[in-house]
């Protein structure tokens, strides 16, 4: 990726205005700078960044159960005139997770937050219509959480079923 002075400017602005909001600053492997910010200053940071990054491009999460009991929620913001991307990350505890909604600032967040609620069970405070989006209304559980097991069945062959489930054939293993 090309150097992104715009990102650095915004980082400086956030740092100057909300001291201590940035917990961590890292460059992810695809070359973008990612800020881990405190949950309490998330909306302030989003509002501040909106002038330079007018589009919230992605809002999604990952479950880091194996390492820490947190969901990592990322906000990817796009600047349109000078191409740059700003990555904001918030860590949310896995139980009773609550985040302030960004849908008041970016209408786009409406569905993306619903998706996160659907898949991870993350609640968004102040969301206008927080309900399931992709899964059926009466679905139990939140499928992308790590403790939610993948539903699969053994493969059928003539007169027998295969002895391993598809995902067990190559087990997850570490180097």
């Amino acid at each position: 990726m090309a150097e992104q002075p715009l990102v650095d400017q915004v980082v400086e602005k956030i740092r100057a205005k909300f001291s201590g909001a940035i917990e961590q600053e890292e460059v992810i492997r695809s070359g973008y700078k990612q800020l881990t910010i405190k949950k309490s200053s998330l909306l302030d940071a989003l509002r501040l960044a909106k002038t330079d990054f007018p589009m919230l491009y992605d809002l999604t999460a990952a479950d880091y159960l194996e390492r820490e009991p947190f969901f990592h929620v990322i906000y990817v913001m796009n600047s349109i005139q000078t191409p740059a991307k700003l990555f904001l990350k918030v860590k949310v505890e896995r139980e009773n997770s609550l985040l302030p909604t960004a849908s008041k600032i970016f209408p786009m967040a409406n569905w993306f937050e619903r998706e996160l609620y659907d898949f991870y069970g993350i609640n968004f405070e102040g969301h206008p219509d927080l309900k399931r989006l992709l899964m059926p209304d009466d679905w139990m559980g939140h499928p992308l959480r790590k403790e939610y097991a993948l539903t699969e069945e053994p493969v059928e062959f003539k007169g027998l079923l295969s002895d391993k489930l598809p995902s067990e054939v190559i087990p997850k293993q570490y180097d």
Binding site: I28, R67, P107, W111, D137, L144, Y174
Partner: protein, 391 residues
Amino acid sequence: MTDVLTRQLDLQRIGTNPEHGTETMVLNLGPHHPSTHGVLRIVLELDGEVVVKSEPVIGYLHTGIEKECEYRTYHQIVPLIDRMDYLSSLNEEMGFIQAAERLFGIQAPRRAEYIRVIMAEFSRIVSHMVWLGTSALELNVSSVFMYTFRDREMILDLFEFVSGARMFPRYFRIGGVLRDLPRGFDKMARELILHLRAQIKEYDSLLTKNPIWKMRNVGVGVLTTEQCLAYGATGPVLRSTGVAYDVRKAFPYSAYAEFKFEVPTKTEGDAYSRYLLRLAEMDQSLNIIEQALNKLPSGPFVVADRKVWKPHPHKGLFAPVGESYVTIESPRGEKGYWVIGDGSNKPLRMRMRAPSFAHIQILPEMINGHYLGDAVVAIASVDPVLGDVDR
């Protein structure tokens, strides 16, 4: 998804219009409606023929690919990715492969990147042709549908020639491509380019000035730049409002930095300008392919390290700990891939940010207050692929 009955009752209760002394009607468009481009359902509240309120309902094609990916090795993910946006599988593969290669820190050989660009651009044309054909069919222009599908088949023939499969080629892999371009590819591709150039002109003369086509498309499904930015719309939808934002230019991935091409834009922001843009994009894609064919470097088509592209079958490839987020320009817009490696042979998380997802969310902005007939045009004009939306 929302329960049909409660939703209908809900809308009926709210949806009375005292001004006209009439009651509004709730209409379910889809999920099995021929003109919703897949299993999209839109609950429309109609006052006569005018849409008062609308709510897209998605999830009918949800296949849990993101979850499934967490249980597959990196090489087994590629055929899954193919089946998401089934109209431009090679662009999907491109996105995942770029994200995965950044995660692994692998640089594919230049020849491989060129081959990828050629195939991905052909894939973009395939996707645009399906779009043009089906959206013309919805306006009862059935001959265009025949022509675009005929030409699409020719490109699919080329995919079959190169990779062995037509719709789901599974051609790219981490570290390069599955196999080198076969003998005779160059000739076939160049003939195809000539043919497609002529065909695109033909579509243009069939539709662009046609008064019926114009009446149905001009001024329909209008969006402003502000609305696009607010709802995260990208691709031709954003470009039709005058913003020249193309990921291939903004964040060049693969070998796109080495090609000259234009990013066509329009300022009207309606369905007609999106149609013109897609025609122009097909032309630009052909330019890119031609340049790539002319400059195609010789050399290997996969990295030298055999363990990368043909890993141990019992183990797969072990990813380093880290995240990788890459966006690519799919025919529908900016498509994002977030791959998190945790040191194992399977990703901790795979996230696909679908452009169609955002474009479905923006639909009410386009169709509320307009005629029902225009709603169909508006849906078609954002080119949603429900496999992409629901994943």
